[in-house]
């Protein structure tokens, strides 16, 4: 992405795409003559790690979610008896937090898209030789600790802070404050997962040949029509990937709710955390955890179907 200062953005772009797009007739597997077993040896340690510490834990989680306590004292342990009632109980007790998590995550994902798309568009098409630097600037803030950055929002959104004073002067705040309201939680979530939105968007937009937009203009399309009919559809894979990568961690997050929100803003992650670590009602906690994953996977599949891009990887 770094280029001699003299090259224009378009030239760079063309050079880049040509470098990537002309590997010739060679397809994966034909680069080096190797033994048939080689890929399996390469895969073995990593995949074994994932099987033992990702797949088996999920099975273990599912099995725990179907257990019942031996007695009223949770320290006595649990036994497995296909107790599906855990699921209905988890839902009836914490349905509200579930719903809230998905609503907050949905709003934050939409806001992140609205913030990230123009920025990614600007870097991809107008970035020129500053592209690499701009990308570094995008990622840099996220090297300072996640918790500390979230905590910093407490200062920015404080009741006597300038943000609240300006918005209050314009009488835009219904509650006269931001901290400890859903607005603060959504601001924090939007902020914290922005790079997950920007980077896939940039990757998709950067692949688009700028001459396509010029062609649209040559054919008397207004800039808006060109965007709607050419750029936006071509950037859809990035939009789908970005919204998913933002929505998934956002729905499970509870740091923002806990640091910036009030006790009325508790999200489902917070319930799972306290049920596991403090209350130690493992079956209910596992059922909640499993429900969260199932709900997210279901949403992801519906969404990917509707967006029509199944090859995310």
């Amino acid at each position: 992405m770094q280029v001699p200062a003299s090259a224009s953005a378009v030239d760079t772009y063309l050079a880049d795409t040509q470098m990537v797009d002309t590997p010739g007739p060679v397809s994966p597997g034909t680069g080096l003559p190797t033994k048939r077993s080689t890929p399996y040896w390469l895969l073995l340690p990593g995949m074994a790690w994932l099987a033992i510490f990702f797949v088996i834990p999920l099975v273990s989680l599912f099995s725990t979610s179907l257990q019942s306590p031996v007695s009223d004292n949770p320290d006595d342990g649990f036994y497995f008896n296909w107790d599906f009632a855990n699921y209905s109980e988890a839902l009836s007790r914490y349905g509200e937090q579930f719903l809230r998590s998905f609503v907050y995550a949905g709003i934050a994902t939409f806001l992140a898209l609205a913030i990230a798309y123009p920025l990614a568009y600007f870097i991809a098409f107008k970035g020129g030789r500053w592209k690499a630097l701009l990308l570094v600037l995008i990622v840099a803030p996220f090297f300072a600790s996640f918790l500390i950055r979230t905590y910093a929002w407490k200062t920015i959104l404080a009741d006597q802070g300038f943000v609240v004073e300006i918005l209050n002067a314009l009488s835009l705040l219904p509650q006269d404050r931001i901290l400890n309201t859903p607005l603060a939680v959504i601001t924090g979530i939007t902020y914290n997962f922005l790079p997950f939105m920007i980077l896939p968007l940039y990757a998709a937009l950067d692949k688009i040949d700028p001459r396509l937009a010029e062609a649209g203009a040559d054919l008397y399309a207004t800039p808006f029509t060109t965007f709607r009919k050419v750029i936006w559809p071509l950037s859809l894979p990035g939009v789908v990937a970005g919204t998913l990568l933002t929505f998934i961690p956002a729905a499970g997050d509870y740091i923002n709710a806990k640091l910036l929100g009030s006790t009325n803003d508790r999200m489902i992650g917070s319930v799972i955390d306290s049920q596991f670590i403090i209350v130690r009602d493992y079956p209910i906690a596992s059922a909640l955890s499993f429900l969260l994953m199932a709900a997210i996977l279901a949403l992801v599949f519906i969404y990917v179907r509707r967006a029509g891009t199944e090859d995310l990887l």
Binding site: Q2, P28, P39, I56, T64, S145, R149
Partner: protein
């Protein structure tokens, strides 16, 4: 008669000079995308600016959320509270080991996926994708469920640095695979074929052609893995037992007030990472220039 009604002066008049306001509005309209992007960047940098600024604060009370007065105390005595520096040490050690193991395992998988055809490819892809599509609470709680079920008579899997390490390696692998894969699939395989044509054997080709070309991707993946591991709170919180990592320390301190030393460490992390990335960019730009 009708034509005489058109004032000829109007036709010849130069376009009325724009007022300052009009010129300003026009400038905003023409640069709206750049202005919007600038505002978005400010939104992204505002919290970091606050973090750095408040590392120079001497807070009036316990909470370091309101500006009181300038002070270099926190920078002079980073380890005033030894538990902060201990927790940073724990985090760095875990992150280094997790990065090393995760990068090696992930890079091997990436090579298998890009350079080889084999049965079970799509299920491998799925197994790589799923940990990234699973919320951290689920990953953390599932691992805890496993560790809780790992007992033998009176022996119970102890929660601590080892369980944190296992968890971090697990969630770092997928990110390494995706990063290295991107670099590897952008590589021209004909370079390797050329090396083989010049009688380099498989090992020499890998050592002198493939590895140097993929190295930036692997390095990027390692950086990403390190920062993911160093910064992780949610998964760690489930599996740490009584071990205190840096994020765990911050979380515990958040209730009673985070000391400005924490801001100092976050600032050092931020500028350190920024420095590494910018030096990397300059080096690769220079290498590119000498090559052409």
């Amino acid at each position: 008669m009708a034509t005489s009604q058109i004032d000829p002066a109007l036709l010849e008049a130069p376009p009325a000079a724009e007022s300052g306001l009009q010129r300003g509005l026009r400038w905003i309209r023409e640069n709206s995308l750049a202005i919007y992007s600038g505002l978005a960047l400010i939104y992204m940098f505002l919290p970091v600016a606050i973090v750095v600024l408040f590392s120079f604060n001497s807070p009036a009370g316990r909470q370091n959320t309101q500006w009181n007065e300038f002070s270099l105390d926190a920078w002079r005595n980073i380890c005033k509270d030894p538990t902060i520096c201990q927790s940073v040490g724990v985090s760095v050690t875990i992150a280094l080991v997790a990065t090393l193991v995760g990068t090696i395992l992930g890079t091997m998988i990436a090579f298998a996926l890009v350079r080889h055809r084999f049965r079970g490819r799509s299920s491998t892809n799925l197994l790589i994708f799923l940990p990234m599509a699973t919320p951290e609470v689920v990953l953390g709680s599932a691992l805890l469920a496993l560790f809780l079920n790992m007992y033998w008579g009176d022996w119970q899997m102890p929660l601590g640095p080892w369980t944190i390490l296992i968890a971090h390696i697990m969630f770092v692998i997928s990110f390494v695979v995706v990063t290295v894969k991107a670099r590897l699939s952008g590589l021209d395989p004909r370079l390797e074929q050329a090396a083989m044509d010049l009688y380099a054997d498989e090992r020499a080709t890998f050592r002198y052609v493939t590895l140097p070309l993929v190295a930036p991707g692997i390095l990027g993946a390692a950086l990403l893995a390190f920062s993911l591991s160093f910064d992780d709170f949610i998964i760690t919180n489930f599996n740490s037992g009584s071990t205190v990592t840096f994020p765990m320390y911050i979380w515990g301190a958040a209730q009673r007030g985070i000391p400005p030393q924490v801001n100092v460490i976050a600032s050092i992390m931020f500028f350190g990472a920024l420095g590494i990335v910018i030096i990397g960019q300059i080096l690769s730009a220079r290498r590119k220039r000498t090559r052409t």
